[in-house]
């Protein structure tokens, strides 16, 4: 988790009149699903990740968002498969264990619909992705204000060098190229801001 902390520390240098938000890990998730045998789906999650957000505006349209994920914490409920996913065939976590998303632009489509554009880095490869996001609002929680977002996107894993596959006798491949990602984040406003 130390590495995640240092990635997120980079954000703190950015601004002064900003509202800072951390993440409630217990009420956030990063899930994904990918095709198996062309027709069925495997789903999984990352157990270790963190999010930092800084925003001066109340509606987060100027927000800077960083999400850092420990790729080693990938979890599909099948230890052999998870080990394979951590190997050089996929995430290569011995050399590239941290996946990051850094927002570059936020477009507000309506009160609740946003597009969050940012740089996704995996295996040392950085590419821009667009998240379709729902801003769920703010509410007073037990420990201060909370805000919630849910976002999804579809990426092609091969663009980041997660290349492994195996041909199927009947044609096609064992593991799908496109990966559907769904993220739900509960942000907690930092008390000192």
């Amino acid at each position: 988790m130390k590495k995640l902390f240092f990635v997120l520390l980079a954000l703190s240098a950015m601004g002064t009149a900003q509202t800072k938000w951390g993440m409630d890990r217990a009420h956030s998730y990063v899930n994904f699903s990918v095709a198996h045998m062309m027709i069925s789906d495997v789903t999984g999650t990352f157990n270790q990740f963190d999010t930092k957000v800084e925003s001066a505006k109340d509606d987060f349209t100027d927000a800077k968002i960083i999400v850092a994920i420990n790729a080693k914490s990938i979890n599909t409920g099948n230890e052999m498969r998870d080990k394979h996913l951590r190997s050089a065939d996929f995430f290569n976590t011995d050399t590239d264990s941290i996946v990051t998303f850094k927002s570059t632009k936020i477009e507000k489509l309506s009160e609740t619909k946003y597009k969050i554009i940012g740089d996704l880095t995996m295996r040392g490869v950085t590419k821009s992705v667009t998240l379709d996001a729902a801003y769920k609002g703010k509410i007073k929680g037990y420990k201060g204000m909370i805000a919630a977002f849910k976002a999804s996107t579809v990426i092609n894993r091969k663009e980041w060098g997660l290349n492994w596959n195996s041909a199927i006798e009947a044609g096609g491949f064992l593991v799908g190229d496109t990966v559907e990602i769904t993220i739900a984040i509960e942000l907690i406003q930092n008390n000192n801001s």
Binding site: D24, A26, H27, S28, Y29, N31, S33, H36, M37, M38, I39, S40, D41, V42, T43, T45, N47, N75, G77, N78, R81, K136, G137, K138, I139, K140, G141, I146, A147, A148, K150, S166, I168, E169, A170, L174, A184, I185, E186
Partner: protein, 181 residues
């Protein structure tokens, strides 16, 4: 007199490629997701497109997993699943109706905490394939939304600002891969 023998094929759930996932609201605006780790089930059908599929699934309630041990212990307690007295959740289909474009409406009895209520799954038959091990497989995706309180999963906590901590509605998402027996 002739007798028609209905030949139904039997398919078993491949647990390595099947997920029973759910999401529920937290603090009204946020969301928690989880899954059940232990389950088994069979699908039988006489039609190639599974339009007459019969489904029988048993889920171990104590295998609930939201990646948060304290919360999972709470979910297993009498506030929610009461897993000690009700170790399994079952779903048995009673009717399947083909809706076109490989869509199926599967009606069945969902039993949680000893309470049985009818639910309707919105399902999609995603096709068949031959696995690398030479087995015939078939895949489905199904969703439904249930109100947990109808099955006696009552726990909640009021929020200072109005509303409740945990949502009543639970979205279920099932990705199912079955292997022909």
């Amino acid at each position: 007199m002739t007798t028609t023998v209905e030949t139904r094929s039997t398919w078993k759930i491949d647990t390595a490629h099947t997920n029973i996932n759910f999401t529920v609201a937290h603090m009204i605006i946020a969301e928690v997701s989880g899954n059940f780790k232990e389950f088994e089930g069979t699908v039988t059908a006489s039609k190639e497109d599974f339009s007459d599929a019969a489904i029988d699934v048993t889920i171990k309630s104590a295998s609930i997993n939201t990646e948060h041990p304290d919360r999972d212990a709470h979910l297993r307690s009498a506030d929610f699943f009461d897993a000690e007295n009700h170790p399994v959740v079952t779903f048995k289909s009673t009717k399947s109706v083909a809706k076109g474009n490989d869509r199926l409406e599967i009606t069945g009895d969902l039993t949680i905490r000893g309470i049985t209520k009818q639910v309707v799954l919105d399902a999609k038959f995603k096709g068949k394939a031959v696995s690398p091990y030479g087995q015939m497989i078939a895949a489905f995706k199904a969703t439904t939304t249930i109100n947990r309180k109808e099955w006696g999963l009552q726990w909640n906590a009021a929020l200072e600002t109005g509303g409740f901590l945990v949502g009543e509605e639970v979205d279920l998402l099932l990705n199912v891969e079955v292997v022909k027996q």
